[in-house]
Amino acid sequence: MTATTHSPLLSEAGQAVERHWRELAGRRRLYTIGGIVFMVLAMSGSLWFANESNAGKFFDRLPYLFDFVGQMLPRDGWEIWRALFDLPSPYDDGSLKYNYPDGRIYLTETFYLPEYFYKMLETINIALVSTLIGFGFGFVLCFLAASNLTTRRWLRFFVRRFMELLRAFPEIVIAGFFLAVLSIGAVPAIIAVSIHTIGALGKMFFEVVENADMKAEEGLRAAGANWTERVWFAIVPQVMPNFLSYALLRFEINVRASTIIGAVGGGGIGEALRLSISRTHEAKTLAIILLLFCTIVAVDQLSAWLRGRLVGRQAFEFGRGG
């Protein structure tokens, strides 16, 4: 830096400061360089390992990536439209690839729901049911885990660990277990997503409860209210907007999660997507991706709007991955 050129003019004390500053800057630089070297080593090691253990090598497969993108293009743009709305295709040769009208779900004699819309609705319903179940159980559990409402330490400890376990337990294992017991379908997906949701929402809820204003609770306590009455009349009205907005956020995540669980056998649009990608039905794949994309954007926007109305513009985006 330019400061070093002035050093001869500095007083004794000034030189001490200067020396000290240099030491600090040097140490800081050392840490930065050390950190960068460590990251570079870790990254190159990781990438080498990933490449070695992959079925296809990165540089061998790279040209095929674009081939694959080319394969994803349908014969004409309207095919996506036809696949999406189950309209008959002019290329229909009796194969699974072009049998769009077969998937129609007739609600009345003439009015039908296209297959992928039905599957998408199924996925959304899985997400909604799981969110509601998670909300219900999380709502009950969170008051038991909050330190300002539950004085018994062992109960709090037990409830918190229980919720942590529900949250950290891989969803895929719960889904796999119930798929084995109940056979393929939406119910295993609901169970798996719900269990994760109870843990995730419960944790967020009890943090909200712990930050609640306790004055109302004290007032009720002074009037002789019991625990349930205190929670219901003093805490719940305060925390409800936050609870709802977290539940909406969770709903967004659950739509994605139930799509993924669907892909491993949990029914809904995820399964349709996995099948059509693996069978290279390009028009169907693109139709599903388009539908999924629009739905996710719509759900995100709707939930952001509702959350904005509930709690004002608070940044809840952070923490969505949990």
Binding site: S46, S53, L179, V181, L182, A186, G321
Partner: protein, 515 residues
């Protein structure tokens, strides 16, 4: 308070005491609506039907498999004698002689033709599972004259399944054979098998069964509530809770005895260390003679653990490392790419509105096309493995980070930038000294948070083909027999998530301080 005072308060605060009907019953209405929706969902997904159609018996045994293992000897009736056999890959190794199966031998006359019929009639075992695995004419090295003392004398085995092809001549031979087997299930639970007659004792009750070979199983007296029979004469299933169960059929008794624990966790049955206690293993490694030429005992032990056939430790660890690498590399790449892009997308830093919008919409696109879609897409492109996972996480998180970073950039304090600019710094220096110090801790903390949550996501997308422990987990679950391996992998995943959670929390607290 008098009544007039109370009514005065009510009159003054009508908005509190006389709320509109809708508002008063809002909570009840919402709850009713949710309940109605749940009924609808119950109907839509046919929940009742699915749950009642579920195989809950199997669910119990799958759950028990998480922490225990079964040993499955079959006792076949063979004329006047019995055959005790274990499946080939029994957790007790080849030729097991467990002390809970007590057999008595006697000299019997038997005809070889009947045995081939009995062997042929064996129920749905996979071919090559070796019914008579225990009779594989082992050299008498293990001969201890113990419970199956008749075994060595069976060097002319009655009939192996391979001999079925030869036309069986009814030749009568006299030999030592098992005439009675007593299987203990711990406690007072016993099964005593004799040709034509089986006694089951459990909870102080005794069930006596007459066996007409190949024809029927008939109980003497009523069945206790722990035993069941679908139709008269068909097989009787006796359930002893966790200890296991027994199926008494008209041609054999299938024993399923369950033991708590993970069997052969370190050494499989082919390892020279198999069956040793921890002290013995340590002793052999430190002081024992070399088991194999050219390799130390420690190397042999390590090799046997890593290549354990039941638990596949080496492969599981490798797959777990793949998952960790997927999350790590994906997150780092996404952060690196999102960092410069976020500057271009932030309105207060890049004045060009068109570029702002273009970048923000592409972030939204990357984020909204789900990680699953990216994972399926890249699995097709790169083949199954961590490359697909890295790419999927990279694409999704570039969108997420771009959005989060550019929002953080738009919320910075402008004074620092003005200060740096006012001394005449170049635009790049303004960003470096005026902006980056403010946002870097936030950026890093967000990346760390997602690194940890991506470790979890990487497990899930692994199952659709993106490699790592997710795929391994999924394969283990699909077989429906390796639930103890699933439990092991879940435990490893939980440990990794726990450790990463703590590391990420610790680093974040050091970066941004305790909130």
């Amino acid at each position: 308070m008098t009544e007039t005072e109370a009514s005065a308060i009510v009159a003054r605060h009508t908005d509190v005491f006389q709320r509109p009907l809708l508002e008063r019953f809002r909570a009840a209405l919402i709850i009713a609506a949710v309940a109605l929706y749940m009924v609808f969902a119950w109907w839509l997904f046919a929940v009742g039907q699915v749950i009642s159609g579920g195989n809950w018996d199997i669910a119990g045994s799958y759950l028990a498999d998480w922490v225990s293992y079964e040993v499955r000897p079959d006792i076949e009736y063979d004329g006047d004698a019995l055959d005790v056999s274990f499946p080939r890959f029994s957790p007790l190794g080849d030729d097991p002689k467990p002390d809970w199966v007590v057999t008595e031998t006697a000299t019997v006359e038997r005809r070889s033709a009947t045995t081939s019929a009995a062997a042929g009639a064996g129920s749905g075992q996979t071919s090559g599972a070796g019914f008579l695995g225990s009779l594989d004419t082992k050299p008498a090295a293990k001969d201890d004259g113990g419970f199956l003392g008749a075994m060595p004398s069976a060097s002319t085995p009655p009939e192996t399944p391979t001999a079925n092809t030869a036309p069986a001549e009814p030749v009568a031979t006299r030999e030592e054979a098992i005439v009675s087997a007593d299987v203990s299930f711990g406690g007072d639970t016993h099964i005593r098998v004799q040709p034509g007659f089986v006694t089951v004792t459990h909870k102080g009750e005794t069930l006596e069964l007459d066996i007409e070979e190949q024809i029927a199983v008939n109980a003497r007296g009523p069945l206790p509530d722990w035993a069941s029979q679908r139709a008269p004469g068909s097989k009787v299933i006796a359930r002893f809770g966790f200890a296991g169960r027994a199926e008494i059929e008209d041609d054999e008794v299938k024993i399923r005895r369950r033991f708590l624990g993970w069997e052969n966790f370190f050494f499989d049955t082919r390892s020279p260390y198999w069956g040793m206690s921890a002290g013995q293993v340590l002793g052999t490694i430190l002081f024992g003679d070399r088991i194999e030429e050219g390799r130390s005992n420690l190397a042999v032990a390590w090799d046997n653990i890593v290549n354990n056939a039941d638990w596949q430790h080496g492969d599981v660890w490798l797959k777990l490392l793949q998952t960790i690498v997927m999350a790590f590399a994906g997150t780092v790449f996404a952060s690196l790419l999102a960092f410069p892009l976020a500057f271009a997308a932030a309105r207060n830093i890049m004045p060009n509105r068109f570029i702002n919008h273009l970048l923000k919409r592409s972030f939204d696109f990357l984020r909204s096309v789900d990680m699953l879609i990216w994972a399926l897409f890249f699995t097709r492109a790169f083949g199954p493995g961590p490359l697909a996972g890295i790419s999927a996480i990279f694409f999704t998180d570039t969108g997420t980070f771009g959005k989060l970073y550019s929002e953080a950039l738009e919320n910075i304090d402008d004074k620092q930038r003005e200060g740096v600019r006012s001394v005449g710094a170049a635009p790049s220096s303004v960003q470096r000294y005026g902006v980056v110090p403010q946002v870097l801790p936030v950026f890093l903390s967000q990346s760390l948070y997602f690194w940890e949550s991506n470790t979890r996501s990487a497990t899930i997308i692994g199952a659709v083909g993106a490699g790592g422990i997710g795929l391994k987990l999924w394969e283990a679950m699909r077989t429906n027999q390796d639930w103890e391996n699933v439990a092991y992998m879940v435990l490893l995943i939980l440990m990794v998530v726990f450790v990463f959670d703590n590391i990420s929390n610790m680093l974040r607290q050091r970066l941004i301080g305790r909130q």
